[in-house]
């Protein structure tokens, strides 16, 4: 893959490169995230997990993927 065709996005504060026309669902699958145990924010907007296959990622997108951890 030509590096010029890659798109830079930020996931949980870390830069990642993806190919064009990459969906949010493909990203979640690539990261092997269990969909029923996470929540996703795209550019500070919460995403309905049922719609992630329809969302195409764009250059500069900022994605946050969160889950539950121990807390008081």
């Amino acid at each position: 893959m030509n590096i010029k065709n890659k798109i830079k996005i930020t996931v949980n504060g870390k830069q990642m490169q993806i190919t064009p026309k990459f969906s949010l669902k493909s990203l979640i699958n690539k990261l092997k995230m269990p969909i029923n145990k996470i929540a996703i924010e795209l550019n500070k907007k919460i995403i309905d997990k049922r719609k992630i296959s329809k969302i195409q990622l764009k250059k500069g997108d900022k994605i946050e993927i969160v889950h539950f951890i121990g807390g008081g």
Binding site: P34, A39, E41, F68, G70, G71, G72
Partner: protein, 257 residues
């Protein structure tokens, strides 16, 4: 004596002890301590997933949210906006509406920032959340939270994680007198007797994390806390004798030789 049910936002819970899931050495230790405590509500926090270590264990793999009520918190939030963002995300994970609001204003003592807490309570309630509110032990603020729609008032006993026990019993008693909402002591419990005192003051429940998780034997402490809460509740319901400055013999003088 039959106790009334422990009910929060119209849901009945068996145990009056709520436990936190933080500060344990491992998830398995945490799961075992929770089981021993008998708690059916546990607090959890929302944080970023570690994307570079996909195989890392997850809390939800050890504590089944179908068997125990997850109470998402807003630990680490300092503004209403942070808290609302966090709880919206928590709701998206699996539909949780019952939440613990905790907006801090002071990194050293972890005291609640009550202006932001009150604002968050109003906003979250409007969004349909059922908000259990960590707050200071101020009766006036507790009243305002109640008017803003809080489903439970959760005043601190002492700073979070301090283990100092209940510092202001008078205020807790005044809050108890003025509210019919569930009153739950949240933060500052150090040992089992602190939990008993909270219940004897008429609180409906106690929320404990550090005192169990950081005890030398967390499992034994979990059991101690479970018994302490039950004991304190029974003591409260039984109606204590009036304290008296002078002694009163337990044995009658009648028939004395």
């Amino acid at each position: 004596m039959i106790d009334k049910k422990f009910k929060i936002a119209n849901k009945i819970f068996k145990s009056r002890l709520i436990v936190g899931t933080g500060k344990y050495k491992s998830f398995s230790e945490c799961a075992k301590a929770i089981k021993t405590s008998g708690a059916d509500i546990v607090t959890v926090a929302v944080r970023r997933v570690n994307i570079s270590n996909k195989n890392k264990a997850r809390l939800m793999d050890y504590i089944d949210p179908k068997k125990i009520t997850y109470l998402p918190n807003t630990a680490g939030c300092f503004t209403a906006e942070d808290a609302i963002r966090t709880l919206r995300l928590a709701r998206e994970i699996g539909g949780w509406k019952l939440v613990k609001l905790e907006v801090l204003g002071d990194k050293k003592n972890l005291f609640p920032e009550m202006i932001e807490t009150l604002r968050s309570t109003e906003l979250l309630t409007k969004e349909g959340f059922k908000v259990m509110v960590y707050c200071n032990d101020d009766p006036l603020m507790a009243k305002r939270l109640e008017n803003a729609g809080a489903v439970a008032i959760m005043p601190l006993a002492a700073p979070i994680g301090s283990g100092l026990g209940i510092q202001n019993k008078v205020n807790i008693r005044i809050i108890r007198k003025q509210t019919k909402l569930p009153l739950i002591i949240d933060a500052g419990i150090g040992q089992a007797s602190d939990a008993t005192i909270a219940m004897e003051l008429g609180c409906d429940g106690v929320l404990i994390n550090t005192a169990i998780a950081k005890a030398r034997n967390p499992f034994q402490m979990a059991e101690a806390m479970k018994l302490a809460v039950i004991s304190g509740r029974k003591s409260f319901l039984s109606g204590r004798i009036s304290p008296n400055l002078f002694g009163e013999a337990s044995t009658t003088n009648k028939g004395i030789i």
